[in-house]
């Protein structure tokens, strides 16, 4: 898929995020939107997956360690054909399979249940280690939040991945610089993130995580790096794509009302049309 098509897909993914969260009347739009371009690239370009065979043995795996941004993952999976886009409206509803946080037991395409911050990366490391031990060539991707990396378990996992030279693992840090209580810098700074991962023997790539061309270059580079896991520090804008949500921590875990929803969808429609021209 070319860059313009991917950008177009990312618009659709963002629409799905808003639709899901709007109908749920709760959920996390901010961090879903910041990571929408990354989700899109992963599922429409990067990963070896088959929506008709989500449990394919040698598929690439993805763990959403920052599990609260499930709307981003679900919208991407739905747009990729793992389940109907129309089901996004059932997010967080009683009886829906679309749980508030990723649930591998009930959602096609979800490789690991996650949501309790800090835990997903370890599972991804286990998948990567398992692949190495079995001589399989699948790759494993994990996405963490910049706030999430305040969890100590992230660094236990990073130490292990670096020690075992898991070059089949790519970690993406969605660095939107906002967490619930403020900027990550104000709350408890994880910076410099790049030097920390480098110290744990990672290959570090820093990009604008809302720029599809830079995203593509970063993932391609990760493939070529041997004997080291890669971390892509993706500098993003929380709420990206919806003007009034951008860089506003208030949109971390809040659903838009009807007026806001319609306004947001209108903005995305226009953005999509602009790409077409």
């Amino acid at each position: 898929m070319n860059i313009l098509d991917l950008e177009q897909k990312a618009i659709e993914v963002r629409k799905g995020i808003l639709t899901a969260v709007y109908h749920a009347k709760s959920g996390h739009p901010g961090g879903s939107l910041s990571a929408a371009d990354l989700f899109t690239y992963l599922y429409f370009e990067e990963m070896n997956i088959d929506p008709r065979n989500p449990d394919m043995e040698n598929r690439d795996r993805f763990v959403l360690s920052k599990g609260h941004t499930a709307p981003g993952l679900y919208s991407t999976l739905a747009n990729r054909g793992f389940f109907p886009v129309g089901d996004l409206k059932t997010l967080r509803h009683l009886g829906s399979y679309l749980q508030g946080h990723p649930d591998m037991k009930h959602i096609p395409g979800v490789d690991m249940s996650s949501g309790s911050l800090g835990q997903g990366l370890s599972a991804a490391v286990g998948m990567a280690m398992s692949g190495k031990m079995a001589g399989k060539d699948y790759r494993v991707y994990a996405m963490c939040g910049d706030g999430e990396i305040q969890e100590g378990q992230i660094w236990e996992a990073a130490m292990f991945a670096g020690h075992h030279k898991l070059d089949n693992l790519t970690v993406i840090i969605d660095n939107n610089n906002l967490q619930i209580d403020g900027t990550v810098q104000e709350v408890c700074s994880p910076y410099p993130i790049d030097k920390k991962f480098a110290a744990f023997h990672f290959h570090v790539i820093t990009i604008d995580g809302n720029d599809m061309t830079q995203i593509a270059t970063a993932f391609k580079q990760a493939h070529t790096k041997k004997d080291k896991p890669t971390v892509i520090i993706a500098n993003t804008v929380k709420g990206k794509g919806v003007s009034f949500m951008e860089n506003k921590v208030g949109w971390h875990g809040k659903a838009p009302n009807e007026e806001e929803y319609l306004l947001a969808m209108q903005e995305l429609k226009k953005a999509g049309e602009a790409i077409c021209q």
Partner: protein, 313 residues
């Protein structure tokens, strides 16, 4: 007559080697305690399938979960304190919630850890693990049962918490013993008094029952190796036949075997139950045998408590 004594942690290591020979998908994870948890014997035999995660139990728990999603059968091993205590939430969310096929080999459970003292004596692990939906909990009584339990845990699809001890304990089962998850065992038939025990307290309860004969008390002894799912039918059958009912465990009376039996009784057949165990206190340093004596968990302590209850009627 001398009875062979083996610590169930040794049984764990030996069973892993037996299973490793048969099953390529079995992997063993440890957190810098391979010599103590006895996974070191597996490491010697299968170095490529033994992963030392370093002193990072929470990460080890997640790695085990991730490997299970890829078809491996991980046995993750550390002390009960860290497996069930420190990593409780990782076990709940990364293993329990997705019901992954991870086996937790928790050694050094209970007060019989001994000299290391209260920080390492986990008397709460069964209570914690019981609250996780779908978790199987096995607390074997001796070497034969422990090895059988490890084999059964491998065959079972889903998360299993296996509880092992540091102290060498008498081997009370013969090699032809048939083990089945969730099925308790009557090891001594008596009258009126029944002692339901688990783990290393089973051999102590058996010895207590033999000594009680001299005092005119003929006690039934039941081995409940699987705390969850508990053998409700057997507990009710024993309760209905007994006038005095006891549970004995090297674990807090809060949330362990005593609580599990009480749960069954209060809903199905209310009767008085005396729970022998750690009475909501922290342990302390000392030789394991002396600690078991001080906390009333050896044959003598069990015997005294049974006599006390029976004679006070």
């Amino acid at each position: 007559m001398s009875v062979a004594k083996i610590a169930t942690r040794d049984s764990y290591g030996n069973a892993l080697v037996e299973l490793g020979k048969m099953h390529e998908d079995l992997v063993v994870l440890d957190a810098d305690l391979a010599a103590a948890t006895k996974t070191g014997v597996f490491k010697k035999e299968f170095p490529d399938r033994h992963i030392d995660c370093g002193i990072a139990e929470n990460n080890m728990t997640g790695i085990a979960a991730g490997m299970a999603t890829c078809g491996k059968v991980p046995f993750m091993s550390t002390f009960a304190m860290f497996a069930a205590g420190r990593s409780f939430e990782q076990v709940r969310n990364s293993i329990g919630y997705p019901h992954l096929n991870v086996k937790i080999g928790a050694t050094h459970a209970g007060i019989s850890v001994g000299e290391d003292g209260a920080t390492h004596q986990c008397n709460e692990d069964i209570a914690l693990m019981r609250t996780i939906p779908g978790m199987v909990i096995i607390n074997p009584a001796d070497d034969v049962e422990a090895r059988a339990a490890v084999h059964a845990a491998y065959e079972y699809k889903g998360p299993v918490y296996l509880r092992f001890g540091r102290l060498a304990v008498p081997v009370i089962h013969s090699e032809d013993y048939h083990f089945e998850i969730g099925k308790g065992e009557v090891i001594r038939e008596g009258k009126e008094v029944a002692i339901i025990a688990t783990g290393l307290c089973v051999s102590e309860a058996l010895e207590a029952a033999n000594k009680l004969m001299d005092k005119g008390i003929d006690a039934t002894v039941v081995n409940i190796h699987t705390i969850k799912p508990i053998d409700k039918a057997l507990i009710l059958e024993i309760a209905k036949k007994s006038k005095y009912l006891f549970t004995v465990e090297e674990h807090s009376v809060i949330g362990g075997l005593g609580s599990a039996v009480a749960d069954v009784l209060c809903e199905e057949y209310p009767m008085k139950l005396t729970r022998i165990g750690i009475q909501d206190v922290f342990g302390e340093s000392g030789p394991a045998v002396e600690l078991l004596h001080k906390y009333g968990l050896d044959a003598e302590g069990i015997m005294e408590r049974v006599e006390q209850v029976v004679n006070n009627e």
